[in-house]
């Protein structure tokens, strides 16, 4: 039995260095830094836990350029059994439909019982790849899962879905299924040095998109013409307080004290 987790390296748009600049069909990525998507991290934790309870082999898959291999190394050091890297070096907007098809082509031969993915990615916040992947794999899906438990005696998964306003729904489902994982479920573990060493011994398989069999995944969604531009002035109508730190603090303190009176 196998389960898989789809993970992503994302642009760190909150990094102190690097400016996000539109560049027509995508953004100028020079000067930007990257990190593992928060949603991917929670998906990895859920995959490790499910892999243990289902006694299943775990595989992490990512699509991206050479640098994206870092997220696979992280997954392996957290206890995922194997990594698969679809090397996609296009310096352009990656349409989620294209990514979902590539992932489907990698995953189909593995016949996974459960596929996990982040609810969305931290950079593009699209939320499309997971359920679209489910469609391409002919699997059902459940989104926004914060906790998944395998009930072996009933051969089913018990899932907690997070909803707006903080409510949670408990649902049950059967496999095979794609789950998209919301943040805040199982606590994120920091791998020990030993975990990192163990992870280094595990295999990462490199694949090129050209090697993948993309036939048979139904109609391809045309992306249309996608362009990127800077949002209206970030400061909007905000009154920006200038001066030294003490002067700024005094001005805010005055506003807060006024609000209190």
């Amino acid at each position: 039995m196998s389960i898989a987790v789809c993970i992503k390296q994302v642009i760190d748009h909150e990094a102190p260095t690097g400016t996000i600049r539109p560049a027509g069909r995508w953004i100028d990525e020079r000067s930007l830094s990257y990190k593992t998507c928060a949603w991917s991290q929670y998906a990895m934790e859920e995959a490790v836990a499910l892999g243990a309870s289902m006694d299943a082999a775990t595989t992490a898959v990512t699509v991206g350029p050479e640098r994206a291999r870092d997220v696979l190394r992280q997954a392996l050091s957290r206890g995922i059994g194997r990594g698969m890297h679809v090397l996609d070096s296009r310096d352009a907007y990656a349409d989620p439909c294209v990514t979902a098809r590539l992932l489907a082509a990698v995953l189909k031969p593995l016949e996974p019982k459960v596929v996990l993915a982040g609810l969305q990615a931290e950079d593009t916040t699209e939320g499309v790849v997971g359920p679209m992947l489910a469609h391409f794999l002919g699997m059902r899906h459940v989104t926004g899962v914060v906790r998944a438990e395998w009930e072996a005696h009933d051969n089913r998964l018990v899932l907690w879905r997070e909803l707006e306003g903080g409510a949670r729904d408990m649902v049950t489902t059967t496999t095979p299924v794609v789950l998209t994982i919301q943040t805040g479920g199982r606590p994120l573990r920091s791998p020990s040095l030993l975990d990192v060493r163990k992870g280094r011994t595990r295999e990462i398989v490199g694949l090129h998109p050209g090697e993948l069999d993309l036939d048979g995944f139904g109609p391809y969604a045309p992306v249309g013409t996608v362009s990127f531009y800077a949002p209206p002035l970030a400061h909007g109508t905000a009154r920006m307080i200038q001066g030294s730190v003490a002067e700024k603090a005094a001005a805010v303190a005055e506003l807060l004290s006024g609000g209190m009176r």
Binding site: R168, T183, A221, Y229, R239, A250
Partner: protein, 320 residues
């Protein structure tokens, strides 16, 4: 001929957001012919009278799984050939729309800020990278767009009295995913919903140990501390004190956002705040676009200075 648009929604969860989508379509020129698929009861369907030409209601007392929605949606979309299939942004959109787009070979954009359906093209606008960049997609009329529209807008348009709404009730097809029960986030001692001053903390405060300082700031002005989702996910603050789409929507007199980048999901929770004061060291942080007052500063320096300054303010205002 007016464009055909199909709108889906779960009226029991966010009826206002569904009506806001319908109101937005009603205001557009030319207004499209709108059909709707909802989950709920016949009475729920009646609430859409005057807004849509036809409403089909999937009769259910609990939430429906994506597979139940898709069983009805896919054949209907294929027969109706709408230009766009829309939903208010939220859990239903995440669950149903991307898979629908896969099934019908459509483009899919969730959480759109803008949508325009003209005779020849469909244009959608959404944010990426925490609101620091905008994406525009231009589709030819022949390609359907599946999209969710950012919620939080009030439905300020009345339904058209001229539209006769046909109502049809359907039994949803049961799938392999079953709803068991719902659970509300456990209440916390601090009610962030009724406080007049709320100090919101984000990841930008740096470390859990720094929370003490923000609690002191809040206490000094008679307020409470609340948090953005990442801080709650880290376990620094209970989930009941989370502000935003997946937390509480609050309306304090003053909201002081400390180290909060201004993700749209967070901003949804503070739209009704009287005055939003944002402090962030990143001058391009999207929170400044929503703030009334902005301070670009390093919180490690600013927060202690603020606590001290509040002390001075209060001393100055003491009755003599």
């Amino acid at each position: 001929m007016a464009a055909v648009v199909l709108v889906i929604g779960d009226v029991r969860r966010g009826a206002g957001d569904l009506l806001a989508v319908l109101a937005r379509l009603a205001r557009s020129t030319p207004a499209p012919t709108v059909h709707s698929l909802i989950a709920g009861s016949r009475d729920d369907a009646v609430r859409l009278r005057g807004w849509v030409a036809q409403v089909r209601v999937l009769l259910s007392s609990g939430p429906l799984a994506a597979e139940s929605w898709l069983e009805t949606l896919v054949p209907w979309v294929e027969a109706l050939a709408p230009r766009a299939i829309l939903a208010p942004h939220g859990e239903l959109a995440y669950d149903v729309l991307p898979a629908l787009a896969g099934c019908i070979g459509a483009a899919c954009d969730l959480d759109c800020l803008g949508l325009e359906i003209s005779a020849d093209t469909t244009t959608s606008i959404r944010e990426q990278l925490g609101g620091k960049i905008r994406q525009q997609r231009l589709l030819p009329a022949a390609v359907p767009l599946v999209a969710s529209l950012r919620s939080g807008m009030a439905a300020d348009t009345a339904p058209s009295p001229g539209i006769d709404t046909a109502i049809e009730a359907l039994q949803p097809v049961a799938g392999s995913t079953s709803f068991v029960r719902s659970e509300i986030t456990p209440a916390v001692d601090v009610d962030i919903g009724s406080a007049s001053i709320v100090v919101g903390v984000g990841r930008g405060i740096g470390h859990e140990k720094n929370l003490k300082l923000y609690r002191e700031i809040a206490a000094a002005v008679g307020g409470v501390v609340a948090a953005s989702r990442p801080v709650v996910d880290l376990g620094w603050i209970p989930r009941g004190m989370q502000v935003g789409q997946s937390g509480r929507k609050i309306a304090p007199h003053i909201y002081l956002a400390c180290g909060i980048s201004g993700a749209p999901q967070h901003v949804l929770g503070i739209q009704k705040a009287g005055t939003i004061i944002a402090v962030n060291k990143d001058e391009s942080a999207p929170i400044f676009a929503h703030a009334h007052v902005g301070v670009v500063a390093d919180l490690a320096e600013f927060a202690p200075a603020l606590l001290q300054a509040i002390g001075h303010c209060q001393q100055d205002n003491l009755p003599t």
